[in-house]
């Protein structure tokens, strides 16, 4: 295998992206075929390189900015995982986007982000990582912006939030590069204290923002409504999770010497726990299929961050496993949302109902994925969550409880979602709804099967993918070691079911099953504010910016006054005074000269005399 072939995973998608721009629209399916071909090739390349352990470094821009790629098990695993989702997404899009006006742009951005993801994951040079990482802003913005009418605003919001945190990432990279005196990732090993702590913090902000954790999440629910649906399944649900959690693991496990009792670990666990709880609490009250899912996309990141943040073997393995599982079931869920959107014409829960009979395959896939995300045994989400619980419990019962509460709420909200959309009374507008086309079903079915496989045979991903990456974890396979915890989980799930039944009874319909939580005395006000966006960090930021700009404006006026009025008046006043002094009177002039001469002479005598 020559060196240049190693560049293929990065170069091929770019080339394909450019090619897509020039493909004529007139030939049917040719563009879709190209994208599928490129995605397939990407998967083949990822599989071919899976066992590769090699590095390539080509001089590029100088100043330590080399085109350095490193193939090793962790990166290869992420590339392979993303390649699977990419292929499935491409397959799904080939139908979903067919005939849409923006499909060309979408495919361009799609392939671009494939190349960028591969590049960012494989890069062994921090500056190169930064290059790919920041370049992801382009497809991010572009893919959201081609959505509906509100999309441009949402795209801007995403761009600003991600862009701002990318700047933190940049600062972290520069700082850690200069602290370590190298930009080669595999040679960096810094302690997270002093400036190193600052570097870690900057990197962490950029990374968890990419993964979509709180408080950098608020564009995701908006994008769920405004952006084209495959974007949601592809970007926030899979690619960004893989990328973000991959880098979180890299910085906490290799680049920085973080150990369990450092503040870094505590910070990560707190961020993780808060993200789980707050996001799922918001998911609970959503009445739109896609928007509800998007809050779960945020909430689930919390488990991954919590897991990695525990820095104990069970937690780390659990976090990474959960990352993999999440991409599987969340993509599946978003695909099911796309099915509904395409076939039923809406994703608003109040207009859906009783679709299980009309779209049985979609419903089955949804069911599997929903059971997985809720952590029901024996689906994959159960096993990864159990590992996270185990890690969290080793670090403190608070985190365990938070995670468990999160599971409870997740289950509650999915019971509501499934019940409202697929069961119950069929709405009038859903009477003619039919099942989705074949090529949209394939990705869903595949993902649902993966959910089951990774659950029942969880040793497959753990032994072949996760354990080589972390290098430990013999006992964390099969049935969870702590049956005690599993029992709790099952009990909590039973409680969730009970809560749902009671909620439906008190609310009158599945849609209102969570109203008793939504309108609970203490929560009602908070929810109201949150729904109106008062608690959105982005909006708070804008309000702060408004205050800042008002202050700056005043300051600007003052500076303006100083230059425009004060200085001019002072200069012209002085000028007029000088003119008045030049009266043309000889004696005065001679007087000036003589007085000044006397002063000069006196001064000289005084200084030297």
């Amino acid at each position: 295998m020559t060196d240049t072939t190693l560049l293929l995973p990065v170069i091929m998608p770019f080339a394909a992206a450019l090619l897509v721009l020039f493909v004529p629209k007139t030939i049917r399916m040719v563009r879709e075929g190209m994208v599928l071909g490129a995605s397939l090739m990407n998967l083949v390349l990822a599989a071919a390189f899976f066992k590769t352990n090699a590095s390539i470094s080509l001089p590029w821009l100088g100043f330590g900015f080399d085109l350095a790629l490193r193939f090793y098990h962790f990166g290869n695993f992420i590339v392979l995982a993303s390649a699977v989702f990419i292929l499935l997404t491409a397959l799904y899009c080939s139908v979903f986007l067919y005939g849409k006006s923006y499909s060309k742009q979408f495919y361009f951005y799609f392939l671009l982000s494939v190349g960028l993801t591969n590049g960012a994951v494989l890069a062994d040079n921090l500056l190169l990582v930064l290059f790919f990482w920041e370049a992801m802003l382009l497809p991010l913005f572009g893919m959201i912006a081609i959505g509906n009418r509100q999309a441009y605003k949402t795209a801007t919001k995403a761009f600003i939030i991600v862009g701002a945190t990318d700047l933190c990432f940049m600062a972290g990279i520069i700082l850690s590069g200069s602290l370590a005196a190298t930009f080669t990732i595999s040679r960096i090993n810094l302690p997270p204290s002093g400036l190193g702590a600052l570097a870690f913090l900057f990197l962490m902000v950029g990374i968890i923002s990419k993964a979509g954790a709180m408080p950098f999440h608020s564009w995701i629910p908006d994008a769920a409504i405004d952006a084209p649906l495959p974007f949601m399944a592809f970007f926030p649900a899979s690619l960004e999770k893989l990328l973000g959690i991959y880098f979180l693991a890299r910085i906490s496990l290799d680049m920085f010497k973080v150990n369990g009792d450092s503040w870094v670990s505590l910070l990560l666990m707190v961020v993780g726990a808060l993200t789980i709880l707050l996001a799922v609490a918001m998911a609970l009250i959503q009445t739109d299929y896609k928007r509800l899912l998007s809050y779960h996309a945020i909430s689930q990141v919390g488990y991954m961050i919590l897991g990695i943040g525990t820095l104990v073997p069970a937690g780390i393995i659990g976090g990474l496993f959960h990352m993999l599982n999440h991409t599987v079931y969340k993509s599946c869920l978003f695909f099911s949302a796309g099915s509904l959107e395409r076939q039923a014409g809406t994703t608003a829960l109040e207009k859906l109902g009783g679709l299980a009979g009309r779209m049985p395959v979609t419903f089955a896939c949804f069911l599997v994925a929903a059971l997985s995300i809720s952590g029901v045994p024996p689906f994959n989400g159960f096993f990864s969550k159990e590992l996270v619980y185990e890690g969290a419990l080793q670090r403190g019962w608070v985190f365990y409880l938070a995670a468990l509460l999160g599971s409870f709420l997740t289950a509650v909200s999915f019971l509501k979602l499934g019940h409202a959309a697929f069961l119950g009374r069929t709405r009038d507008n859903n009477r003619l709804t039919a099942e989705s086309p074949f090529s949209m079903l394939i990705p869903m079915v595949v993902l649902a099967l993966v959910c089951i496989t990774f659950g029942v045979f969880n040793f497959i991903p753990l032994r072949y993918f996760i354990q080589p990456v972390v290098g430990f974890g013999g006992p964390h396979q099969g049935v969870p070691s702590g049956m005690f915890l599993g029992g709790f989980t099952v009990a909590v799930l039973a409680l969730a079911l009970l809560n749902h039944v009671l909620g439906v009874k008190s609310g009158g319909s599945a849609l209102k099953a969570t109203d008793h939580i939504h309108y609970a005395p203490a929560l009602k006000g908070i929810y109201e504010k949150a729904e109106k966006g008062y608690l959105d960090p982005y909006n708070i930021g804008w309000r702060a910016a408004g205050v800042l700009s008002a202050v700056s404006w005043r300051l600007d006026r003052a500076v303006d006054w100083f230059y425009d009025s004060f200085c001019v008046k002072a200069a012209s006043g002085a000028s007029a005074m000088i003119r008045r002094m030049h009266s043309g009177n000889y004696s005065v002039y001679i007087g000036w000269s003589l007085a000044a001469s006397a002063a000069v002479i006196t001064f000289l005598l005084k200084i030297h005399g």
Binding site: S575, Y589, S593, S597, V600, F603, L604, H608, G609
Partner: protein
């Protein structure tokens, strides 16, 4: 043979009056032009001689000692270039043939005075040459015999008389104290008793006289009247070189070669420099008369030169000498342009003129170069010299003065910009439709001066090195 620089104009005057006066008075201009061109050539031919090092060198022809070095070279070059410009301007602006002939004579006399005071190494000879230059200037200012001209000339005479008294008294005291008036003897005398009150007293008097000649605030009151009342050709000469040679060059020469840098003297020079920079710029801001504004601007720019000198370092002195040269060029250029405006528009009141650039493109565009150089805009020559002066002040620890110098350059830009806008830009004022370029010679001299400004700016490293290297040598000695 630097003595040629005095002999050439001297013989020239004789030839002019005995030959040309009766035969071909019209050719007097070309003859004088040739004389000044010869001086430029002589100066350039002697460049290695000037740069051979600072020396009081015996001149075999006059049997006296000349004091020459790199600074003298720059000063001589300025004198000759400005005299040339003045001569050309006179050809177009002095219409009466006999007046022009007389002017040519006076210009030659003035150049003898200035060349002499640059070369001499004797404080009394210096005084004599100063008076030669000054007296010819008095006459030239009063050339038109109008009320304003006479008033301007009279103010100059009165204040010059004060300066004369101060300098003569100082020379007398120095003669008593040091038993000779040569630079070397006085330097020795001061070296022997540096704290002597009588010597300090005379030094103070002498430099006060020079301050009057240089027109530093508050010794400056004669200058705006003299500059603005003088005929245009004379304004070019006065502003371009006479005050600088008589006041600034002599100040530099005496401080460097005779009195030496001493803290008290430096402080006086710095303070007067800063005051001149500020007051000159502020006063220029409020002027409505083109030439008067340029006159105040000269005070301000001379302040910069003096600030560079006051820093007391080789770098500051080099900046001062470079600015001396730059100021001679750009101020001559601006006065040449003012002369063109006065000639065509028959007024220099800036409220009555406007938009002349459309009718006088060469004058308008060279004026832009001149004012940008004066305001210190890169890459023109004036920028570099100001920059060097400011850096030198900063390095010498005179940070307050450096800040004043920087701030005043904003004022400089503002008044020169307003001048350019009022005179040349905008809509052509009524009654100026018939204006046009004065003549090819006029345009030639404007373009030549503008080209010197641009070339010195672009070739700054070479030009500056030619000034800086000898000065470092001088100060080491």
């Amino acid at each position: 043979m630097p003595s040629l620089l005095i002999l050439v104009p001297l013989v020239g005057i004789l030839v002019l009056n005995f030959l040309f006066k009766f035969v071909v008075r019209r050719a007097a201009f070309w003859f004088a032009l040739a004389l000044f061109a010869t001086q430029v050539i002589i100066t350039f031919l002697h460049a290695p001689f000037f740069y051979a090092g600072n020396a009081d060198r015996f001149n075999p022809f006059f049997k006296v000692v000349f004091n020459i070095d790199g600074i003298s070279f720059v000063a001589l070059l300025c004198i000759e270039i400005v005299c040339l410009a003045s001569l050309v301007v006179a050809r177009y602006t002095l219409h009466d043939l006999s007046q022009r002939f007389n002017f040519t004579n006076l210009l030659l006399i003035s150049s003898i005075g200035m060349n002499g005071l640059v070369l001499t190494s004797d404080i009394f000879s210096l005084y004599v040459f100063l008076e030669v230059a000054a007296v010819s200037s008095f006459i030239m200012i009063a050339f038109r015999r109008g009320k304003r001209s006479l008033e301007g000339a009279f103010k100059y005479i009165i204040l010059s008389a004060v300066a004369t008294v101060l300098m003569l008294a100082a020379i007398a005291i120095l003669l008593l104290a040091c038993s000779d008036t040569s630079f070397a003897a006085i330097r020795q005398g001061i070296g022997q008793s540096p704290e002597s009150n009588i010597i300090l007293f005379s030094v103070g008097m002498f430099i006060s006289g020079l301050f009057i000649k240089a027109g530093l605030v508050p010794f400056h009151a004669w200058l705006p009247d003299a500059y603005s009342a003088a005929p245009d050709a004379v304004s070019v000469l006065l502003a371009g070189i006479v005050t600088k040679a008589c006041g600034v060059y002599t100040l530099i020469r005496l401080v460097v070669s005779v009195f030496g840098f001493r803290p008290g003297l430096s402080q006086v020079i710095l303070l007067l420099g800063a005051v001149s920079v500020l007051v000159g710029a502020l006063a220029a801001l409020g002027q409505n008369d083109f030439k008067r504004m340029l006159a105040y601007s000269s005070i301000s720019q001379i302040g910069y030169i003096v600030l560079g000198l006051g820093s007391g370092t080789a770098l500051g002195l080099a900046g001062a000498v470079f600015h001396f040269f730059n100021h001679a060029i750009f101020k001559s250029l601006l006065f040449v342009n003012a002369a063109a405006v006065a000639e065509e528009a028959h007024t220099t009141d800036m409220d009555k003129i406007g938009g002349l650039s459309s009718r006088m493109p060469v004058t308008g565009s060279t004026s832009v170069i001149g004012f940008l150089s004066a305001a210190g805009i890169p890459p023109l020559a004036g920028f570099w010299s100001k920059l060097v002066i400011i850096i030198a002040l900063w390095k010498a620890g005179d940070i307050a003065y450096a800040v004043i110098a920087v701030l005043a350059s904003i004022l400089t830009l503002s008044y020169l910009l307003s001048m350019q806008r009022r005179v040349f830009f905008g809509r052509l004022k009524q009654g100026l439709e018939d204006t046009r370029e004065v003549g090819p010679g006029f345009s030639f001299i404007s373009v030549l001066l503008a080209l010197i400004i641009i070339a010195c700016g672009l070739l700054f490293p070479m030009v500056f090195n030619a000034i800086y290297a000898p000065i470092k040598q001088i100060l080491i000695q």
